[in-house]
């Protein structure tokens, strides 16, 4: 299945909740697909709409904001 869609996802993770949860997922050894690349922010309130548009411009198939 070489044609399988393998999306590149860019994530903005809030340090206090989503980033912490992602750490916790690691601690519990939950397994999830390795398509996500993350940027830690101190709060998703930091995420300017411009960042999201820029992400798409740079070739992201999807943007994930977790907060």
């Amino acid at each position: 299945m070489t044609d399988e869609f393998n999306p590149k996802i860019l994530g903005f993770l809030c340090n206090w909740c989503c980033y912490a949860a992602a750490d916790a997922a690691g601690v519990s050894r939950y397994q999830y697909p390795p398509n996500l690349r993350t940027i830690r922010v101190m709060c998703t309130g930091r995420v300017d709409a411009a960042f999201i548009l820029r992400g798409f411009v740079e070739g992201a198939d999807a943007i994930f904001t977790g907060g």
């Binding site: 590149k8 860019l10 340090n15 206090w16 980033y19 912490a20 992602a22 750490d23 997922a25 690691g26 601690v27 050894r29 939950y30 397994q31 999830y32 390795p34 690349r37 993350t38 940027i39 830690r40 922010v41 101190m42 709060c43 309130g45 930091r46 995420v47 300017d48 709409a49 960042f51 820029r54 992400g55 411009v57 740079e58 070739g59 992201a60």
Partner: protein, 919 residues
């Protein structure tokens, strides 16, 4: 002070000496599983990171020959002229923390320990599992290095064992056995593991969940049985003889057996006792009483850790902080004398310098290196923009790695550091400290999480995990190219505490703070102080609580430093560590009034209460006067049943906890049941008492009381989760039916009383969680900052927790936790100031147009509009700013930037993300 024979200042820990040393020696750090040399270091991360010579094995010390090592050492650190030194020190207090001792080998003999190489103690197995152990973490039989196919853990070796004089439960073995079994399964998923146990005592916070995971996720089997012995069997194997609940004897072959040995009293216990004149208990641990769990019999001498009684790491850490707090109270007049403040080298000014980035990629033992191809990742960083240095590290957080990092920063003139390892949430402060030690501003640092969010979650996709690591590092380097040093700021502290909750936890915390000389306000929502201790009449040791509680309350009330406010609750709280401002709603007669209190820290001690279950044992609770809770039974035994205890009582454990309404163990119910059972037997020895239980968790010294209860004729009968006792109503009477595994038949009883152990729920945690923005667990208990290392601190700075609001626990643990919370809370008060994280927002007033959008959006009221030259400008109140960045993302003129998270930096990261796709 015994000599190391090595000059610590000169030793570079290069290890050359060990390779030349001609003599072999069993490696005690690896529990004798492999060999080392008389001149060695226990492990690379050891503190101090200096080699030493074992005088008992060194040829020069014992035989006056050899000395090969002396010329080998390039730094001339070896010095056989060192002599033992005696140093006299004057101290005002002593904390005893000598740890625990080993159960004697004679106790292990019946399990063929010492006879067959594949019978190991749990600590030996711990080393075997360790990547730095003898087989690099591979689970191999010591006899012939083959992979074992079957492994048995035997619980309660040297604990709960009157044969070896250890009538107590060591409290930690069940949990470590589960952990070791899971780690072994991670190393070798094919391995069959059975844990043979009497009761699984996983009573700690969220420990039951781990047991469940071991069973369901890892396929580890648990068998309730008594193991009679282990004998060599066949050519290589071992045979385990055990009897199950039904009284049948069975034999099973295993390749390897791990003995879950208990914690013995420290070897030096008697010596310490004699030297310091402190009393020991009958098991040779330090004697203390339940109301003063850390005070030895000698004033000024306190005890912490396993010497106080067998306990796990969080309990040890809590006790240690508590002991520090009590000692600090004793010595408050001497505070600050002889104290040396850590100094850092002057900060290196990097203005105008070229950017020089160093990238360090960590293996974290096998945690990262086992999945991610670290050498490939390291190589990938070569040639990235301004990366002038890169390397790998086994454990980048270790002490030796910090020294190495400092050295590398200096040697290569690094002015930005990127570390790819674990989570910045846990390890950023450590590395930033090292940067400061190396003269760099701590903000010149970026961390990449390739463990928690990469190797651990993509364990089966090494290639993808490696690529992800490379991408994340590239993004971090892009950001690192744009980071700038940020100035440190400090804010003064209001040296006063607020304690919420007037139960034993709150009372103890307030008193411990007052004893250190700090003001505090104690807030209780009821009219009376005392909390649960008002209804708990005696401890499991049989000591009455009333007198102690009365004394505690009167000490609190008479303290000039403590203000007690009852019938009050917290309604709002503003501010941050060092500068909180809280509003209390206080009931005054028929009116309510509001009080505002300024304080620097807050301790949450809102407690818990007995659960009121709707579901019991998988069925709806049967309502009857004959069915009561353990607490109600206790009240009755001190009230109208004082002289006439019920003639027959059936107690049912986990009736509410562990599965029905509450999906956790409440830790205290088994003790409570045993306590009440003994009390009934004391009032009326003829009374029939039955205790139906799943795992009887009388851990620690409570095990003795369990033993006593059985001797007095209390009958303990285990039941299985899939066959719970059934309670029904038969006319006016209640009936309970259950399966007796010993008799192998179903039994029906109509006792006078059925007492349910219903468990404990927290109080007030949800509302406070919202007010203070602190997390709670799924069971609504406050969630501490780190389970092991920061057990009484909340993730929000300046907020501490103790007592039942943290998790269910008995009285002595509550007292210790309260003392620990008070010790931790005193730290900012002692210092008098707190540092503000440099990541707060900053307004460029040139670019600001004074629209005020940011001020209206800020959730923390941390932006004010001021007039500068008659123009409106925004300004950050740094101490209130939580660095969320909402202001920055909404500013129409891009006038606000966030320290460490600037637009430029984030855009660079996004661009670097994009580069990977083009590849």
């Amino acid at each position: 002070m015994r000599p190391r024979f090595i000059d610590a200042d000169k030793c570079t820990a290069c290890g050359l000496c060990t390779t030349y040393c001609p003599r072999h020696l069993q490696d005690t750090f690896n529990e004798g599983l492999n060999l080392t040399r008389p001149i060695h270091i226990d492990y690379p991360q050891a503190v101090p990171a200096t080699y030493y010579i074992d005088p008992a094995a060194c040829l020069h010390v014992t035989e006056d020959t050899c000395q090969i090592c002396v010329p080998v050492c390039r730094s001339h650190a070896i010095n056989f002229n060192q002599k033992p030194k005696v140093k006299k020190i004057a101290v005002g207090a002593v904390v005893l923390a000598p740890g625990f001792g080993k159960v004697p080998d004679s106790t292990l003999a019946k399990y063929s320990y010492g006879v067959h190489a594949d019978v190991l103690t749990s600590l030996e197995f711990e080393r075997l599992l360790n990547p730095s152990g003898p087989y690099q973490g591979n689970v191999l039989c010591l006899s012939d290095q083959r992979h074992p196919k079957s492994l048995a853990f035997i619980q309660c070796v040297g604990s709960r064992d009157l044969g070896c004089g250890n009538g107590y439960c060591s409290s930690v073995c069940c949990m470590y056995a589960i952990k070791e079994a899971m780690v072994a399964k991670e190393h070798d998923p094919e391995l069959d593991i059975i844990i043979f146990y009497m009761d699984m005592r996983t009573q700690g916070k969220d420990f039951d969940a781990a047991r469940k995971r071991a069973e369901e996720q890892f396929g580890i089997k648990f068998v309730r049985a008594k193991v009679a012995g282990v004998t060599p069997w066949g050519a290589k194997g071992l045979r385990l003889t055990y009897s199950t609940m039904d009284g049948r004897h069975r034999f099973d072959p295993f390749d390897m057996v791990v003995l879950s040995v208990g914690l013995d009293a420290p070897k030096d216990a008697r010596k310490i006792s004699k030297l310091l004149d402190v009393e020991l208990n009958k098991f040779d641990f330090c004697r203390t009483d339940p109301f003063h769990p850390l005070n030895s019999s000698q004033p000024g001498i306190y005890v912490a850790g396993a010497f106080q009684g067998p306990c796990d790491i969080p309990e040890s850490v809590t006790q240690s902080s508590a002991a520090a707090g009590i000692a600090a109270g004793l010595l408050k007049k001497q505070r600050g004398k002889g104290y040396v403040v850590k100094s850092y080298p002057a900060e290196h000014d990097i203005t105008g310098e070229d950017i020089r980035i160093g990238v360090f990629t960590c293996h974290c033992g096998i945690n990262i290196g086992g999945v991610v191809d670290v050498p490939r990742v390291d190589k990938y960083t070569d040639g990235m923009e301004n990366v002038v240095y890169h390397s790998e590290s086994m454990y980048s957080c270790s002490q030796d790695a910090q020294e190495m990092l400092k050295k590398t920063i200096k040697e290569h003139n690094l002015n930005r550091v990127v570390i790819a390892a674990c989570s910045p949430r846990t390890h950023e402060p450590l590395f930033q400290e090292t940067l400061k030690d190396a003269g760099l501003n701590r903000s010149l640092f970026e961390m990449v999480n390739i463990r928690d969010q990469c190797s651990w979650v993509h364990a089966n996709e090494p290639e993808a995990a490696t690529e992800k690591s490379m991408d994340l590092i590239r993004m971090a380097v892009a950001k690192a190219n744009r980071i700038q040093p940020l100035a440190e700021q400090t804010v003064p502290v209001t040296d006063k505490a607020l304690v919420l909750g007037g139960g034993v936890a709150g009372l103890t915390a307030a008193l411990t703070l007052a004893e250190q000389g700090f003001h505090c306000t104690l807030v209780e929502k009821e009219a009376e102080l005392g909390g649960n201790l008002l209804v708990i009449k005696q401890t499991i040791e049989g000591v009455g609580t009333a007198a102690t509680l009365k004394k505690l309350i009167s000490r609190v009330k008479s303290s000039a430093l403590i203000e007690v406010i009852t019938k009050a609750e917290l309604i709002t709280i503003n501010g941050f560590v060092g500068n909180f401002s809280s509003v209390l709603k206080v009931q005054e007669g028929k009116k309510t009034a509001e009080h505002t209190i300024d304080h620097g820290v807050i301790i949450l001690a809102t407690g818990g209460r007995e659960h009121k279950p709707a579901q019991v044992l998988g069925q709806e609770l049967v309502k009857s006067k004959q069915i009561i809770t353990q607490q109600e039974l206790e009240t009755r035994l001190f009230g109208k049943a004082k002289k006439r205890a019920p003639s027959s009582v059936v107690m049912v454990q986990c009736a509410g906890s562990r599965g029905d309404d509450l999906n956790y163990c409440s830790k205290v119910c088994c003790n409570h049941a045993v306590k009440n059972a003994l009390h009934i037997k004391e009032i009326n020895p003829e009374s029939q008492v039955f205790v139906l239980y799943r795992d009887l968790r009388t851990y620690g010294y409570a095990e003795e009381k369990y033993q006593q209860a059985r001797e007095k004729g209390v009958v303990f009968i285990p039941y299985e989760v899939d066959n719970k006792p059934r309670i029904t109503k038969k006319g006016q009477k209640v009936e309970i039916s259950f399966h007796d595994p010993l008799l192998q038949e179903d039994v029906v009883m109509q006792p006078e009383v059925i007492a349910l152990s219903v468990g404990i729920v927290p109080q007030g945690t949800e509302a406070l969680s919202k007010l203070l923005k602190v997390p709670v667990t799924e069971h609504k208990f406050f969630m501490e900052a780190h389970v092991k290392l920061r057990p009484v601190e909340m993730p929000v700075a300046g907020v501490y927790v103790c007592g039942l609001a943290h998790s269910p626990k008995p009285l002595n643990e509550t007292i210790v936790q309260a003392q620990a919370a008070a010790a931790k809370a005193a730290m900012p008060l002692v210092k008098g100031s707190v540092s503000v994280e440099p990541i707060v927002s900053h307004v460029d007033q040139e670019a600001c147009i004074g629209c005020g959008l940011c001020a209206s959006l800020c959730p923390y009221q941390a932006i004010q509009i001021i007039k500068v030259d008659k123009k409106r400008k925004a300004e950050t109140i740094v101490a209130s700013c939580k660095a969320c960045g909402i202001c920055a993302s909404h500013c129409p003129t891009f006038a606000i930037s966030m320290g460490g998270f600037t637009n430029e930096q984030i855009i660079a990261q996004i661009e670097a993300f994009g580069n990977s796709i083009e590849e």
